[in-house]
Subunit: 278 residues, 3 copies
Amino acid sequence: MITLASDFGTPYPAVMKGVLRQRTDARLVDVAHDFPRQDVRTAAFWLREVLPYFPPATHLVVIDPGVGTDRDAIVVRAGDHTLVGPDNGVLLPAARRLAGDAGRLEAYLIDEDGLDPVEPTTDQSEPNSRSQHPPQGRSRTFHGRDVFAPAAAAVHDITDLESFVWLEPTTADVDLELPTATLDAERAVGEVLAVDGFGNVITNVPGSALESRERVRANGEPIPVGETFAAVPVGDRLATVGSHGYVELDVNQGRGDEAFDLEPGDRVVLEPVPGDDG
Amino acid sequence: MITLASDFGTPYPAVMKGVLRQRTDARLVDVAHDFPRQDVRTAAFWLREVLPYFPPATHLVVIDPGVGTDRDAIVVRAGDHTLVGPDNGVLLPAARRLAGDAGRLEAYLIDEDGLDPVEPTTDQSEPNSRSQHPPQGRSRTFHGRDVFAPAAAAVHDITDLESFVWLEPTTADVDLELPTATLDAERAVGEVLAVDGFGNVITNVPGSALESRERVRANGEPIPVGETFAAVPVGDRLATVGSHGYVELDVNQGRGDEAFDLEPGDRVVLEPVPGDDG
Amino acid sequence: MITLASDFGTPYPAVMKGVLRQRTDARLVDVAHDFPRQDVRTAAFWLREVLPYFPPATHLVVIDPGVGTDRDAIVVRAGDHTLVGPDNGVLLPAARRLAGDAGRLEAYLIDEDGLDPVEPTTDQSEPNSRSQHPPQGRSRTFHGRDVFAPAAAAVHDITDLESFVWLEPTTADVDLELPTATLDAERAVGEVLAVDGFGNVITNVPGSALESRERVRANGEPIPVGETFAAVPVGDRLATVGSHGYVELDVNQGRGDEAFDLEPGDRVVLEPVPGDDG
């Protein structure tokens, strides 16, 4: 199985699928292709949250603002999973999560010249094709097609990555750590990691910060704590422990990001409401 | 085969697919994941129109504004099809259509504690995972991942639903009936069921209301009746019998919802144009 | 393998997939369903660029502003690929590319009455179904469901198209040629073929026009030529050779269409910067 994630929109993911289909019968599953463009951190967060629910698979990830520069292309073995993508940090939070403490976490540098070049399945002798459609060899702007898809197809059910002459053990150059929150008995200080499509504001504060509380002050304003969205009336704000295990600032059937005026990267401080216990 | 429908956008459907892939090799087909959020009625309409074109399958449906409340999670057997989702009415119009008159229509309550719990495929001994990613057991906000996907994976090619100890015959609590139009020889009174992506206004008035008419008054305004969009010039309005069998108010290569100023739930009255026969 | 492309958004593509799944076990791969509505030319461009990266396949294409009119439905054999769609030109640029010079390029007219009619998999004896859901036979507005999907399912792994009694050799009525640029040593005059989701402005000027240039005047304004987006600072404009082999007018991590104020169909003139060599 190969999963695909990118910031491509359409139809570029279909080009990657065509290349994969030229080379493998693996199942293909889309993670998302509408990640915010060139936003490595947001994609890294979502991949860390989503990929662990897949069985062992190869994960093809192309959020690649540095395409065509000297940033490396890498393959990361993380436990029973394999990730393929640019060496810009986007793979690492997911890889660490997938590997766990006891698991293997190894990076390999892709020698792009060692990959079978991607060719359209057309008769290249057509004169019009030759003059109007000259992509010979690798492009400098679409490594999803020319580097990462071929690499993912090659490694997707091979566990012995050392067997590939075009892979060389390396250390990932860019280590992206998603920020963690600080907690003490009095308060939690964290930040917004992501806003999902519902407008739920996902922070990096562990859900334990809400334990045995009925209310909490979020950036100074007291709001109810609920176990479900429906713990408050439709349209009302609440703090809850989201499905990721983090504190979320939400609105029942509405958009938390608008109600709290928060976006990714914004600071979030959670404190007891004065007078409340616990 | 398992179809998936939700109001999730991305990337949450991929989490459901990961869970499904951990448990089954079934084919997965997306119906849509951009249904209007928390809009049970609109999703119910589309599912009723779309699912009957599939061969017998399991349909995983998560439009679930009451997630985490005491609303039930159910499995519905409808003829040769099986539907899995919340007991909020979203499944029933499709289920009735799929069952037909002679077919079986049975509901089963899901005992959530009877399902194998969903686990990420990571090494849970990793300390950082433990502290930062504590989702143990079922979430209260993502039953698509924790309840409905596991249930769909379990039942997807089993016809004997009674064999599951975690399923118990029940009666669906919430019966959602999509509104029907009233017709007589003079006029039809109905409402807008949905607007599709082209802007076509789909009413609940059966197409027979346009039979042998060349024009019709729609909410008072005479418009031509056409068998195809192209029966009128580009940009002009028309009434036609859409692919669902209902009267649609459309614009040739334009948006009917804007031209007629109509949205789902709005009243639609169709009458003869004074002076016309038929 | 059957690929699907349309301007349908959702959920209509799922209806086509249901029909396909009733008739075939072929792999299904989405190319895109968000092509600009009724825009035959833009879809023709993208199909020409995307489909050649697939292995031999059947390509189901429904961009069909003339649905229900007397425009023909056709099957085109192009080398080892097969295309199915309306005879409005949308298939031809891709078909010519796929066929190449030496390859076979043949068109067949679909006799719609020769196709097995599409039926919902419901019990049609249900009275409510009968009155409210009367689509009997072919619709005039959804040939993706009623004509093209059934035709694609039928031909998808058959190489001998002459064997189908409902196919008759024909000549495509509408020949759509995407415009080509004119080049001489001094300047290139072309136009914008498409803008991709990143905002990259894809012209029809072959990439060779930028060879050995460090700068170029695009519609009068001098801009740097780069091999990669990152050749210029974030937010700056550049001309580059895109992955399609054409000159693109882009912004590093920004939107070229906005920075250059260009959209599909707009004229693009590339000239040397006065004083520059080459």
